[in-house]
Amino acid sequence: MRTRNLTFSVSGLLAATLVAGCGGGVPGSSNSDAGEVYGRLKGLARTEQRARAEELAGEEGKTLSLYTSMTADIATPTAEAFEKKYGIRVSVFRGNSETVLQRTLQEQEAGRPGADVVETNFAEMVILAGKGHLADYNGSGLDKVEAAGKFDHWTATRFNVFQPAWNTTKIKPGDEPTSWEDLALPKYRGKITVEVSDSDWFENVTKYWLEHGKSQAEVDSLWKAIAANSKVAKGHTTMMQFLTAGQTSMEAMNYTYITSRAAEDGAPVTHLPASGVSTIPAFARPNGVGMIKGAQHPAAAWLFCDWLLTDGQKTLVDLGLTPSTKVPGDNSVAGLTLVPFDVEGLSKDDSVWDKKYDALLRGADTVGR
C-alpha cells in the first residue's frame, strides 16, 4: 500500500496551474449593446431621455448592479429609495474604494463587467475614467451640479469634507484648533491622531499653505511638528470609535459626516468650535458616479446616475452627507469655510504624495522633498 510513484501527479499539478494561469480564450460576457443604448440616450432631447431610459430599463429586466464604497448604512437606504422610485431591483457590492476599483478593473480587463454603475471616491473615479471604462452621462441631472463637480466621464454626487475633530470632554472650549497650523502647537503634543492613508489631505493642506505665502521650509517644519504631536491610526471610523470613547482627544482630520453622525448618537465629539463657525479651510473631496461601458443594464445605469444627481441628492442629505448640488435643508456644511479641493494635483501624482505622507509618518528624513 505504500509508495506509489507520484512523479506524474506532482508534475501534473504544474500543468494544471499552467492551464489555469493562461486561462484565456473564454469569450467575455461584455454587453455589446450597451454602447448603443448609451449612444441612443445621449442623442435624445433632454426631456425625453428619462422616459426612454425607464422604458429600456424595463426591457433589461429592471435590475441594476451598483458597486460603491458608500458604507452600508448609506448604500442600503439609497438603493432602496431608487428601487422605490423606479421599481428597479438594485444589487449592491460594497467595499473600500480600493476594493471597488480593483474589482471593477479586474472585471473590465477580463471583459466581464459585473457593475452597471460605480459610485466611489475621487481618486478611484479618476482612474476608472482614465482607463476608459466609463460612459458619458449628459442628462438633465448635470444642470444643478457646479462646474467643480463635473469631470471627464463622471460626475460628483457628494463631498467628503476635511476637518479636524475632537472630543469635547478632552478639548475644552477655547482650546480647539482654529487653523490647520494650530495642529503643530505644542499644547497638542500626544493628543492628535492622524490616519495612515490621508495623503490627499496632506497634499491639499501643503498646497494651500504654499499658495498662501508659506515657504517650503516653513511647511516642512509645520508638518514635522504635527507628526511629532501625533499618533497614527488606521481607518476613519476606527479613529472615531476611539475619539468617542475618549481614548483619544483629537483627530487631525476626519470627514465631517462621520463626526456629525457620531455626535448625533450622543457622543461628545464635534468638528465645530462652540461658536458654531470654523475658520479652518474645509477641503471638500468629491465622490462621484459613472456608468460602466459594456454594462449589462446600461439604461438602468443611466437612470441611477440621473436619479442620484437629482432626487437622490435629497436622500443623501437625509443621510447626513454633503451633496454635490444645492439641496434645500442641507446644513451639512453650515459653519464651514469651504475651499477648493486640489483636483489637479491628486489626479496626476497621487502615489508621490502617498510616499511623502508615508515617509512623514514614519519619521523618515526625506519628508517634503
Binding site: 500500500m1 505504500r2 509508495t3 506509489r4 510513484n5 507520484l6 512523479t7 501527479s9 506532482v10 508534475s11 501534473g12 499539478l13 504544474l14 494544471a16 496551474t17 489555469a20 494561469g21 473564454v26 448592479s65 458604507t71 452600508a72 448604512d73 442600503t76 444589487s91 449592491v92 460594497r94 467595499g95 473600500n96 480600493e98 476599483l101 480593483q102 479586474q106 472585471e107 477580463a110 466581464r112 459585473g114 482612474i127 495612515v196 499618533k231 497614527v232 491610526a233 488606521k234 481607518g235 471610523t237 476606527t238 470609535q241 476611539f242 468617542t244 470613547a245 453622525r261 450622543g266 497621487d350 502615489s351 502617498d354 510616499k355 515617509a359 509618518l361 514614519r362 519619521g363 523618515a364
Partner: protein
C-alpha cells in the same frame, strides 16, 4: 527492532518506505503499463487528485505574485526593480524586518508556551475547571481580530486603559501597561493565537502514551525532569509544527500590527504591504517583493522545522499498543493550577468578551461610568436581528466555512500521507508549496483568484464557490500542519497491519488512518471553520451582492462606525460558533474516537 529502522534509514528519520528506486529495470513498456495502471487505480486517482488540487490551489496565487514581482515595467523581461522599490530608499527595511521578526517570534513563543501548558493541564492532570478550557480554546479564535485588538486597546491603553486606571494607578501609582508597544502587540497576538496551539497540542498529548512518562517517573525522575527530558522531546514534532504555524501566522497578520503598532510607528511587513496596496497606481511589484520577503522567511522556517524534526520521525507516539490515559495527580499543586486556569480564563475570555458585551449594550462606547451603565439597552441586538442580510450571511458563512474546513482537512490528510509516508519525488516541494498561501496577502489572493476565474468558463466567479476556493487556499497551510502532525505521530505499523489484513489503500485510509487522525483533523476542522467566519481581506474583493458572508457584515458595521452594533454581532457570532463547535465535538465523539472529554 531489526535492521530496518536502525541501520538503513537513508536520510534523517525517513521511514524505510521503499522508493520506486533502484530495482533492476524491467522492460520499458511493461513498466510504463504498470505505472499507468497504478495511476489509474482508485488510489492513484484519489491521491493524484488531492495532490493536483492542493498544488493548484497554492500555485495559482503564488504564480500571480511571482509574475507581478519579477516582470519589469514593460512586461517583457525579468527585473528586480520591485525589490529595490520595496526595500530600498527610505523604506527602513531593516527596522521593519526586525520588528516583524521580533513580533512574530515573541507571539509564537507566548502562544506556544500558553497553548502547551494549557493542553498539558487539560489532558494530563486532574485540574479543576476542565470545562473552562473549551471556552478558552475557542473564544479568542472566534472574536474577530479587529474586535479582539480593540478590546485590548480599551483595556491596555497607557492613559485611559481600564487596567491602568482601575488597577495600577490606584494600587501602585503608575501606569506601566502600554498596549501600543511591541510587547503589547506580542501579548495580544500571542493570546489570540494560543488557542490554535492549544488545539494542536491537545491532539498531541492525547495521542501520547502516558506510560512513556510513567516509566521515567519510575526511573526516579522528578516531575519537572520527566517533563523536560521525556514529555517535551516526545512532543517536539507537534511543538515545532505549532510554533512554525504561529510564527508565520504572526508574520502575516495585520490586525494587531495595524491597530497597535502604527500608533508608535512600529511597522512590520504587512503594514508595509498594506501601504503599498493602498497607494495608486498599486505597485504590485513592490507588494509582491515584500510578500516574497515574507515567503523566504517562512520557507526558512519550514526548512528549519524540518531540520529540527529530522530525528523526531521515529517518535511516533501512537503505536499499536493501546494505553489508558491516566491523569497526573496534581496533589497540593491542584488549587494553584486551578487558580491559574481561572486567571487565564479571565484574561483571555472574560475580559475581552466582557468588553464586547458591555459595548454591545451601549449606543456609543464610553468608559464605564454611572451614566453609561444607566443607558444600557438591547437595541443593538434588535438591530442585528433586523439586519436584512444577517440570515443570508450566516447561512453563506456556514456553507463556505463548513465546506472549506471539510475540503481542506480531507485534502491535507491525503497530501500529508504523501509527504510523510511515501518517497514520492517532490514530496518535500509539495509540502513547501502547500505552505506558501500563508504568506500571500489576502488582497493579492483575491486579485489572483478573480484574475483566473474571470477568464474561466466555469460558474465560479460571482458565486459562493470562489469564496470556497479562496478559503481553501488560505487555510491549506493550517490544514497541512494539523494533518501532518497527526499523521507524524502515528506508527506506520497501524497502516501496515491493515494492509496485511487485506485492506486496500482506500479502506486503510478511511477505516484506520482517518479515525486515528481524527483528533487532529477535528481540531483543524474547527480551526478552519472558526477562522473562515472572520476572513475578510480576500472576501471583500470576491463576494457578490446577495452572497454576503458574516465577515462582510462585520466589516460593514465597522466601516459604519457602529462599534456597538458590531460588538453585538460579535457576541452573537461567539454564541453561534460555540454552539456549532460543541455539536462538532459531540459528533466527533460519537464517531468513536477519543473525543473531547472537556465539553
Amino acid at each position: 527492532m531489526a535492521l530496518a529502522s536502525t541501520a538503513t534509514a537513508p536520510r534523517g528519520g525517513d521511514h524505510e518506505t521503499p522508493g520506486p528506486g533502484p530495482s533492476p529495470e524491467p522492460t520499458a513498456p511493461g513498466r510504463l503499463l504498470a505505472l499507468l495502471r497504478r495511476l489509474l487505480s482508485f488510489q492513484g486517482l484519489l491521491v493524484g487528485g488531492a495532490v493536483v488540487i492542493v498544488g493548484y490551489l497554492a500555485l495559482v496565487p503564488l504564480g500571480y505574485l511571482v509574475h507581478d514581482t519579477f516582470l519589469n515595467s514593460t512586461g517583457t523581461g525579468v527585473s528586480l526593480g520591485a525589490f529595490s522599490r520595496a526595500y530600498g530608499g527610505n523604506s527602513q527595511a531593516g527596522s521593519m524586518m526586525l520588528n516583524s521578526l521580533g513580533f512574530a517570534l515573541g507571539s509564537a513563543a507566548l502562544a506556544l508556551v500558553l497553548g502547551t501548558v494549557l493542553a498539558y493541564v487539560q489532558v494530563r492532570t486532574d485540574t479543576p475547571f476542565k470545562g473552562l478550557f473549551f471556552a478558552a480554546s475557542l473564544v479568542p479564535l472566534i472574536v474577530p481580530g479587529i474586535l479582539y485588538a480593540t478590546s485590548w486597546i480599551f483595556l491596555g491603553d497607557p492613559s485611559s486603559g481600564v487596567i491602568n486606571t482601575l488597577v495600577f494607578k490606584p494600587l501602585f501609582g503608575t501606569a506601566p501597561v502600554n498596549i501600543f508597544s511591541v510587547w503589547g502587540m506580542i501579548w495580544v497576538q500571542g493570546l489570540h493565537l494560543a488557542p490554535v496551539t492549544f488545539l494542536l497540542m491537545v491532539a498531541a498529548f492525547r495521542a501520547m502514551d502516558p506510560s512513556l512518562e510513567e516509566s521515567a517517573a519510575m526511573s526516579g525522575a522528578r516531575r519537572s525532569t520527566v517533563l523536560r527530558r521525556i514529555t517535551v522531546p516526545l512532543l517536539r514534532p507537534a511543538m515545532i509544527s505549532a510554533s512554525l504555524l504561529m510564527f508565520v501566522q504572526s508574520l502575516e497578520s495585520f490586525e494587531v500590527p495595524g491597530l497597535l503598532g502604527l500608533q508608535n510607528g512600529i511597522y512590520v511587513f504587512t503594514s508595509r504591504i498594506y501601504f503599498v496596496l493602498r497607494a495608486y497606481p498599486i505597485d504590485y511589484g513592490a507588494a509582491g517583493a515584500l510578500a516574497i520577503g515574507l515567503l523566504l522567511i517562512a520557507a526558512a522556517g519550514v526548512l528549519l522545522s524540518g531540520w529540527l524534526q529530522r530525528s523526531s520521525r521515529n517518535f511516533q507516539t501512537v503505536t499499536g499498543k493501546a494505553f489508558r490515559p491516566r491523569p497526573v495527580d496534581l496533589g497540593r499543586a491542584r488549587p494553584w493550577v486551578g487558580a491559574g486556569v481561572i486567571v487565564y480564563f479571565l484574561v483571555t475570555v472574560v475580559l475581552p468578551v466582557a468588553v464586547l458585551v458591555y459595548a454591545s449594550l451601549l449606543k456609543y462606547y464610553a468608559a464605564p461610568s454611572r451614566k453609561t451603565l444607566g443607558s444600557m439597552s438591547l437595541e443593538n441586538y434588535s438591530e442585528v436581528l433586523h439586519m436584512p442580510l444577517a440570515f443570508t450571511a450566516l447561512k453563506n458563512s456556514l456553507i463556505v466555512g463548513v465546506g472549506a474546513a471539510t475540503a481542506v482537512m480531507l485534502l491535507t490528510s491525503v497530501v500529508s500521507w504523501v509527504v510523510l509516508r511515501t518517497k514520492a519525488p517532490g514530496r518535500r516541494v509539495l509540502d513547501l508549496v502547500a505552505f506558501t498561501p500563508i504568506v500571500i496577502p489576502g488582497l493579492v489572493l483575491g486579485l489572483a483568484l478573480s484574475f483566473v476565474y474571470l477568464r474561466m468558463p466555469l460558474p465560479i466567479y460571482g458565486t459562493l464557490l470562489i469564496l470556497l476556493v479562496s478559503y481553501c487556499t488560505r487555510y491549506l497551510p493550517y490544514g497541512m500542519r494539523y494533518s501532518s502532525s497527526a499523521m507524524a505521530q502515528m506508527s506506520p505499523e497501524l497502516e501496515e497491519s491493515a494492509a496485511v489484513s487485506g485492506a486496500s489503500w482506500f479502506q486503510t485510509f478511511r477505516r484506520v488512518l482517518l479515525p486515528l487522525m481524527s483528533s487532529g483533523i477535528l481540531a483543524g476542522w474547527v480551526y478552519i471553520l472558526v477562522v473562515s467566519f472572520r476572513e475578510l481581506s480576500s472576501t471583500i474583493l470576491l463576494y457578490s451582492p446577495g452572497k454576503e458572508v458574516l465577515s462582510v457584515l462585520i466589516w460593514e458595521q465597522f466601516e459604519n462606525g457602529q462599534f456597538t452594533t458590531l460588538a453585538a454581532l460579535g457576541v452573537c457570532m461567539v454564541l453561534i460558533l460555540v454552539l456549532l463547535v460543541s455539536i462538532a465535538y459531540r459528533l466527533g465523539a460519537r464517531f468513536g474516537l477519543q473525543g473531547d472529554s472537556s465539553n
